[in-house]
C-alpha cells in the first residue's frame, strides 16, 4: 500500500476539512456552493472572493513525504480585469504554507465580497502581517514553484496549507462577468 494523498479544503471556525473534487471561488465560506454566492464585478475598486485554505491530507503507508511545492499552470484565464488576480499568501523567508494551528476562517460580506487577505484590519490573521506578502499565483509555475512546506512528514496528517483568493477589478479595467474557465492548481511532493 502506498501513500494516499488528498486535497482538502477547510471551512468554518473549527474548521471542517472536506476532500474536494472541485472548488469554486465565491463569496461565502463554502468549498463549492455551485452557482450560489458568485463574485460579481464592482463598479469601482475591487471585490474579493472569500479566501480558500487548501492542504494535503497524508495517509496510507510511506516512509517520508517532503519538499511540498505549489504552482499554477502559467496564466490564469479568469476575466477579473487587468489588475485583478488569483492571489496566494506567501512568507518572505522560509516556506509559505499555513500551519494547521494558524488557520483563520475566511471573512467578508457574504454574497458581496470577501475581505482582502492582506487588509490591515480584516485580513487573514497570518498573511496580513509583517513578513508576509500576497502574490499573484502566476508568479509560481512548474519551473519555479512556491515552497509551501519544508517539513519532512513520516506519519499521517495534514501538511501546511495554501491560502488563495480571487481579486476582481472593474469593467473599465477589463473584467467580464460570467462563469470562468477551470484552472489547474498543483501541489508537488516527494515520497518514499
Amino acid at each position: 500500500m502506498a501513500a494516499i494523498v488528498e486535497v482538502k479544503e477547510a471551512n468554518g471556525i473549527t474548521p471542517d476539512w472536506t476532500v474536494v473534487s472541485s472548488i469554486r471561488f465565491c463569496t461565502s465560506d463554502k468549498y463549492n456552493p455551485g452557482l450560489d454566492f458568485p463574485l460579481s464585478i464592482p463598479s469601482t475598486g475591487y471585490r474579493y472572493s472569500y479566501w480558500k485554505t487548501l492542504c494535503l491530507e497524508l495517509s496510507g503507508a510511506f516512509s517520508q513525504i517532503s519538499n511540498i511545492k505549489f504552482y499554477c499552470d502559467g496564466a490564469v484565464g479568469y476575466t477579473f480585469g487587468t489588475d485583478g488576480a488569483l492571489n496566494i499568501g506567501t512568507k518572505d523567508t522560509g516556506d509559505s504554507g499555513l500551519p494547521f494551528a494558524s488557520y483563520d476562517q475566511a471573512t467578508g460580506e457574504e454574497g458581496v465580497s470577501g475581505d482582502a487577505m492582506n487588509d490591515a484590519a480584516n485580513g487573514h490573521a497570518v498573511y496580513k502581517g509583517a513578513g508576509y506578502t500576497v502574490k499573484n499565483v502566476t508568479t509560481y509555475g512548474s519551473g519555479s514553484p512556491l515552497d509551501l512546506d519544508s517539513t519532512e512528514y513520516t506519519a499521517a496528517g495534514k501538511t501546511k496549507a495554501a491560502v488563495l483568493q480571487v481579486k476582481c477589478s472593474t469593467v473599465a479595467n477589463g473584467a467580464e462577468a460570467g462563469l470562468q474557465n477551470a484552472e489547474t492548481l498543483t501541489f508537488r511532493y516527494d515520497e518514499i
Binding site: V7, V20, S21, S63, Q64, N67, Y189, D190, E191, I192
Partner: protein, 92 residues
C-alpha cells in the same frame, strides 16, 4: 519503477519481495548500503561509500483531479541528485 537496496554483505531488500509484499524504505539501514537502485524498464543505480547518505524519492504532482508520479529521484546528499522523468535523466 520500484526500489532495490543492496547491502555491503550482498543481501537485498526490494520494495516488493518475492511473496509480493511491499516494504517501506524506512526498513532499509542506510549505514549498511552498498547500492541503491530504481528498477523498471531500465535500472538506475548509485554506489555509496561509507558515510554517504542516499536520496531517493518519487516526485508526485497532485491536484483535485489526479495524483501521478512525475519523476524518480536518486542521489547522494550533498553530492548530486538524478531526476529520472520518462526515461530522461537530469543531474543536479
Amino acid at each position: 519503477m520500484n526500489w532495490v537496496a543492496t547491502y555491503k554483505d550482498g543481501t537485498q531488500i526490494k520494495q516488493f519481495d518475492i511473496q509480493g509484499n511491499e516494504h517501506q524504505f524506512k526498513e532499509v539501514n542506510p549505514a549498511e548500503l552498498l547500492r541503491l537502485s530504481w528498477v523498471g524498464e531500465k535500472t538506475y543505480t548509485i554506489a555509496l561509500k561509507n558515510g554517504e547518505e542516499p536520496i531517493i524519492f518519487r516526485r508526485h504532482t497532485v491536484n483535485i483531479r489526479e495524483d501521478k508520479i512525475m519523476s524518480y529521484g536518486l542521489g547522494i546528499k550533498g553530492e548530486f541528485l538524478m531526476l529520472i522523468t520518462d526515461g530522461n535523466v537530469e543531474v543536479e
